[in-house]
Amino acid sequence: MTPDDDLDELLRHRFAGVRDADARRAPAFGEMVARARAAIPAEPVVPIEVRSPATRSPIAPAAPQRRSPWRWVAAAAPLAVAAGLAGIWLAPSRAADREFERLVSEWSRTERALNAPTDGLLAVPGSEYLRRLPALGSGAGATRRPS
């Protein structure tokens, strides 16, 4: 090895270590994409006005009836605690499930875009004639049926 090869080897080795360190340090891709999409300005929301044919006045959505939320909180508290504990237990598995679904969906999108552009070259010119060759020994004018 020449001295230049030695230096190249040394630099490759050192940079490989830095590459591995950078890979470990890289922020989670999914989170970065989510934040980026959240930062992209959304389309302005155009309010839709619905007019009643009879009155020609806007139909206002019915105002929700006011109920005290506290009775629901009291009833749901034990369930919430149980759900929380179950959630803690199931969280790693659910996260893995979500990751699996995400990866499969992503792969399906990629897979649908896969194609072999050169497949068109398999249609050899003249092949339509080859499929209609006369069968030997079967008399003049006889043709083999295309398979």
Binding site: A96, W107, S108, T110, A113, N115, P117, G120, G126
Partner: protein, 156 residues
């Protein structure tokens, strides 16, 4: 030896077909057909995900499939970009009034090499996934695939 002369117009048609093939992915690719001898006994990840409860996919199998997909996804996406560049380059040559056959062959060779790598990667993924599944799981998936209206395995 090609028995019939290839008219220049045919070459132009091929060039346009190449570009059309690259730009019309969805119709060309779908789930493996039972008539496709190469893929009919293999199982796409989407099929496995859809019927994972029916085949009792274990957490280990799920995680292994996730790892395989992740590994291949990166490779295939890079190859797709290369393929796009190479097809454009070939189509550009074929679109000339006088085509340099050596150059066209050289560019075709590059396109086919990249196609080969993509196909090989895809096959590797499908084979490794299949080898993770038990014979019973494979049999169940084959049956479910042939009966798409079956309720069993549909996601809750």
């Amino acid at each position: 030896m090609i028995p019939f002369p290839i008219p220049r117009r045919r070459l132009l048609v091929v060039a346009v077909s190449l570009l059309a093939a690259v730009s019309a992915p969805a119709a060309a690719q779908s789930a493996p057909s039972v008539d496709d001898p190469i893929t009919r006994t293999l199982f796409e990840p989407e099929l496995i995900m859809k019927h994972r409860r029916a085949i009792n996919l274990t957490d280990e199998q799920r995680d292994a499939i996730s790892r395989l997909i992740k590994e291949l996804q990166g490779q295939v996406v890079s190859l797709q970009w290369e393929l796009q560049d190479q097809v454009e380059s070939l189509a550009s040559e074929l679109g000339r009034p006088r085509v340099d056959l050596d150059r066209a062959r050289d560019r075709l060779e590059r396109v086919m090499q990249t196609e080969r790598k993509i196909k090989e990667g895809h096959l590797t993924l499908l084979v490794r996934i299949k080898n993770l599944l038990s014979p019973q799981q494979q049999a169940t998936l084959s049956k479910l695939r042939a009966e798409p209206s079956a309720k069993e395995g549909v996601e809750e």
